[in-house]
């Protein structure tokens, strides 16, 4: 039996093969098409729309709009509340990031040094991460209440007279930062623990042989250097989350008093959805987007480097 039936012209065979191969192509495109559609419709289209909106004077509900160039941005940069929100956000980040990272690191180190109650500690510290922020913010609101709140009662016992934490211009942002740390440090702890688990035991053995066998020596010469990349990661992750602070602000202070706790995302929300200034809100969004994208790119760059190291 020879292959007479296959002796058709080469092009025909090539065409048939092309068909099977474009079959795989077609299948692949079928598989990615929903994602592709949504990617364009729900992500890239909207981003383009935001940029477009930011150049118009459009207000929700109105049927006309005009391109007004960068007038929205000019208004934004001339608006003291924007600058207030920006500086507040930066201050918030500047408090929450070190607080979260340090607390998370210390807790992780302590949890990992010995197995006693390890499971309990891990769960306890992680609980805030899982909890619904809007509900817990309400709870924090009562804890920070000037008269019946736990904080002022405790201070009272120690003979210190507390303040009205959330209504005082000096303390409102600080109180929110405290809540931010409370919610985030358990997550930092978990990331640090997984970083600690990845430190090879041989390094400790080597350090011990080299004479670094005290707890602090081990920490200084082995643990902390090895945690460098994880720390970088946690810092950036926490920074990103802090830039996104919204729930606690909305629930507790709504940016007050007198914009003392106004932050970018809350500003964005109020301008766009309370006042329906879509053009202005879009300009604010563009600025916000730029900040976050910059931060994420830094993270990607750093993570890339981490991959190269290991």
């Amino acid at each position: 039996m020879t292959a007479l039936d296959c002796n058709r012209p080469r092009e025909a065979a090539a065409k048939a093969r092309l068909a099977t191969r474009s079959g795989e192509h077609g299948l692949a495109w079928l598989a990615v098409s929903p994602a592709l559609l949504l990617l364009v419709g729900l992500l890239f289209g909207p981003v383009a729309a935001v940029v477009l909106f930011s150049l118009t004077d459009w207000q929700l509900g109105s049927f006309t709009f005009h391109f007004i160039g960068i007038a929205n941005f000019r208004a934004l940069f001339a608006d003291p509340t924007f600058w207030k929100a920006l500086t507040n956000t930066l201050v918030y980040v500047a408090i929450v990031v070190p607080g979260t990272v340090l607390l998370g690191l210390v807790v992780a180190l302590l949890i990992e040094t010995s197995p006693g109650l390890r499971g309990f500690y891990r769960a306890a510290h992680f609980l805030p991460v899982m909890s619904t922020m809007s509900a817990m913010a309400i709870v924090w609101g009562t804890m920070l209440h000037p008269t019946i709140g736990l904080v002022n009662r405790a201070l009272g016992v120690m003979g210190i007279s507390g303040v009205n934490w959330l209504r005082d211009e000096r303390t409102a942002l600080l109180a929110l930062a405290l809540i931010g740390i409370w919610q985030g440090f358990g997550f930092a702890m978990v990331l640090f623990v997984s970083g600690l688990k990845a430190v090879p035991q041989q390094l400790y053995d080597a350090a011990a042989v080299d004479g670094a066998d005290g707890v602090l020596d081990r920490l200084r010469f082995v643990t902390l250097p090895m945690l460098g990349p994880v720390t970088m990661f946690v810092v950036i992750l926490t920074a990103k989350r802090s830039f996104e602070v919204f729930d606690s602000v909305r629930v507790l202070t709504q940016g007050g008093p007198n914009y003392a706790s106004e932050v970018l995302l809350h500003r964005l929300y109020t301008e766009s959805f309370d006042f329906l200034h879509m053009g202005y809100g879009a300009a604010l969004t563009v600025v916000y987007l730029a900040v976050i994208v910059l931060l994420t790119l830094t993270q990607a760059r750093l993570l890339e480097r981490r991959v190269h190291y290991s």
Partner: protein, 280 residues
């Protein structure tokens, strides 16, 4: 010598527990406070001296008010519904796409993957305005669709699942093709079972994020009947009954409890799931 060594050890252990108990107290205090208040009658809440456990147990009443004055159960139900729908949609969209990106060869694959990576950069809050406008145009505002549709695509999910699918050797897929499975059957019968832990991790990530999300529901819905838990508790607070701290705290307990219970039951899963998904 030995005794000094073990003394130091003992001191170290005590110090460890002392510090950890302190930080754990910081983490747990709001929960304790919340539960404590939710069991107290109003006058006791305002009393000068503070007790953990109420002298007059008022829990039943507080929880009854929370459950009747606001549609607490429907908040929870909405949460379950919305989270489940979002996750199901995300899987439906992400899995085939991630599989194609990981294992099929087609023109435009690298471009598409770059697009996914760029999508990863975009914070969802930045898309709120156009999403809002779009939903408004279609008349979907204040419906379940408004809560669900904007999250139908998760670039993070595509990225994560692609990584996991890539770790499955090509030979397995080749074997499956020779065994007569079609591509969608390969996804269903081979890829999904083999990456079940990764899918669970992604599920935990997604559900936790959307159960707790306040920003978007605040924009998308007004009606209490379709509010998710995070928004529901706010609506309850701004309601009359929520002016009383006991019922408000009871409401907070009800809102927070489901996720926390799930977490306590499957701690390892949750912690690893969230840690793994963010570290990828």
């Amino acid at each position: 010598m030995i005794s000094r060594f073990s003394d130091r050890r003992f001191a170290g252990r005590v110090a460890r527990h002392a510090i950890l108990l302190l930080t754990a107290a910081f983490a747990l205090l709001p929960f304790v406070w919340m539960v404590s208040l939710s069991l107290k009658p109003p006058q006791e809440i305002f009393q000068a001296d503070f007790r953990l456990w109420p002298t007059a147990f008022h829990g039943g009443e507080n929880y009854r008010i929370a459950l009747t004055a606001a549609p607490m159960f429907s908040f929870l139900l909405n949460g379950v519904l919305v989270c489940a729908a979002i996750f199901a949609l995300q899987l439906l969209v992400c899995i085939p796409c991630a599989y194609a990106l990981a294992k099929l060869r087609f023109r435009g694959r690298d471009t598409l993957f770059s697009a996914v990576l760029v999508g990863l950069l975009l914070p969802p809050q930045a898309l709120a305005i156009p999403h809002f406008v779009m939903l408004n145009v279609f008349g979907f505002l204040d419906t379940y669709a408004a809560l669900i549709l904007p999250w139908a695509i998760s670039t993070f999910g595509i990225f994560l699942l692609r990584q996991f699918f890539r770790s499955i050797p090509d030979e397995i897929i080749h074997a499956a093709r020779l065994d007569g499975l079609g591509e969608f059957e390969i996804i269903w019968r081979i890829m999904i079972p083999m990456t079940a832990p990764a899918l669970a991790a992604f599920g935990i990530f997604s559900v936790v994020a959307h159960w707790n999300d306040l920003f978007w529901p605040l924009i998308a819905v007004r009606r209490a009947e379709i509010s998710t838990p995070a928004l529901g508790i706010l609506l309850f607070r701004d309601d009359e009954a929520g002016q009383f701290l006991g019922p408000l705290m009871a409401g907070a307990v009800i809102i927070v409890a489901p996720l926390l219970l799930a977490f306590l039951i499957a701690q390892r899963r949750f912690i690893d799931g969230l840690a793994v998904t963010t570290m990828k």
